[in-house]
């Protein structure tokens, strides 16, 4: 895929979860988040897995489940800047206290932990990628998903998610922390019935914060009447255009 060119695709369906947010107006208006709220779990999630789902994993399951097309399993691109790093921090802190590390906590702290739980819950044996985009925001997930579509997959599910980092980590002067847990799932294809979009490089040099913030920007763009959204973080900038 030549990224100096624009790539057309269609958003067939999308669904998002953040605590206390439910309507288009909520996403648009920056409604106050109900931080304590937990995402409801889809009935599909087996009981033995449910106990292992963190608040972030529940948000992912909730958002992705609302994007499903019947029982069809799709290749998935997960993308998260921080993943379950708060869990890793808890483990490190318990090690510091001389406590033994819980094998369960360890298994759920790795960056692809949620994707693993998801693939088990839905018996999904398709190609699944988990991106840690660092400072590069949500664009790498789109590049990966569009690449899969070019490789003749007819549809790809994307799930972008992040939660606020523990206070332990310095957040200033970096724009890397979102205001709440958030998961956005998008089912996309190269063409089809849905919202037609065009993805391309943008020459603009801009700073829109990192992944956790860009998810909210993209969500606002999805529900708004805006035609174009540009997002960048120092190095590269990208544009999404509603055709």
């Amino acid at each position: 895929m030549v990224l100096s060119k624009a790539v057309d695709f269609a958003v067939l369906n999308w669904n998002a979860w953040a605590p206390g947010v439910s309507s288009r107006e909520d996403w648009l208006g920056g409604k106050a988040f109900v931080q304590a709220e937990k995402a409801a779990l889809p009935a599909t999630a087996p009981k033995t897995l449910q106990r292992r789902l963190s608040p972030l994993a529940r948000a992912v399951f909730n958002a992705a489940d609302g994007c499903r097309d019947g029982d069809k399993t799709l290749p998935i691109v997960f993308s998260s800047a921080h993943g379950e790093v708060n869990k890793s921090l808890e483990m490190l802190q318990s090690m510091q206290k001389g406590e033994e590390v819980s094998p369960t906590a360890f298994s759920l702290s790795v960056h692809n932990a949620i994707s693993g739980l998801f693939s088990i819950a839905y018996a999904n044996h398709q190609e699944i990628t988990v991106i840690a985009p660092g400072q590069d925001g949500i664009a790498p997930a789109f590049i990966e998903a569009l690449g899969l579509l070019q490789e003749h997959h007819s549809e790809v599910l994307m799930v972008l998610y992040d939660e606020p980092l523990s206070d332990f980590y310095p957040s200033q002067p970096f724009a890397l922390n979102g205001p709440a847990v958030c998961a956005l799932a998008l089912r996309i294809s190269l063409a089809g019935n849905g919202l037609p979009m065009r993805f391309s490089r943008s020459p603009a040099r801009r700073d829109d914060g990192e992944h956790a913030l860009q998810i909210f920007s993209f969500l606002k763009f999805l529900v708004s009447d805006d035609k174009a959204l540009a997002l960048g973080n120092h190095r590269h900038s990208w544009e999404w255009y509603k055709k």
Partner: protein, 82 residues
């Protein structure tokens, strides 16, 4: 001992909907029975070591036998503690 172990299993593995009475001492703990998996076995091994100071080596061949039910687990712990 068996009931104490059942409570330990429930607490350690966060089996919210299950009570001591629901666990059959002779039923398999893994796969078919309670539906536990290998990570649960490691977690349970750690909890048993902490509580009873008994180490069950997961690599040892008889680990599968020891973990097969609450009853076999209780027997092993009692024998190991002397």
């Amino acid at each position: 001992m068996e009931n104490e172990l059942k409570q330990l299993i429930i607490d350690t593995l966060e089996l919210e909907d299950i009570s001591v009475a629901d666990i059959d001492s002779h039923a398999p703990l893994f796969n078919d029975g309670l539906g536990l998996d290998s990570i649960d076995a490691l977690e349970l091994g750690l909890a048993i070591r902490k509580k009873y100071d008994v180490k069950i080596d997961a690599e040892k061949e008889d680990a599968v036998k020891i973990f097969s039910s609450v009853s076999t687990l209780a027997e092993y712990i009692q024998a190991a503690r002397g």
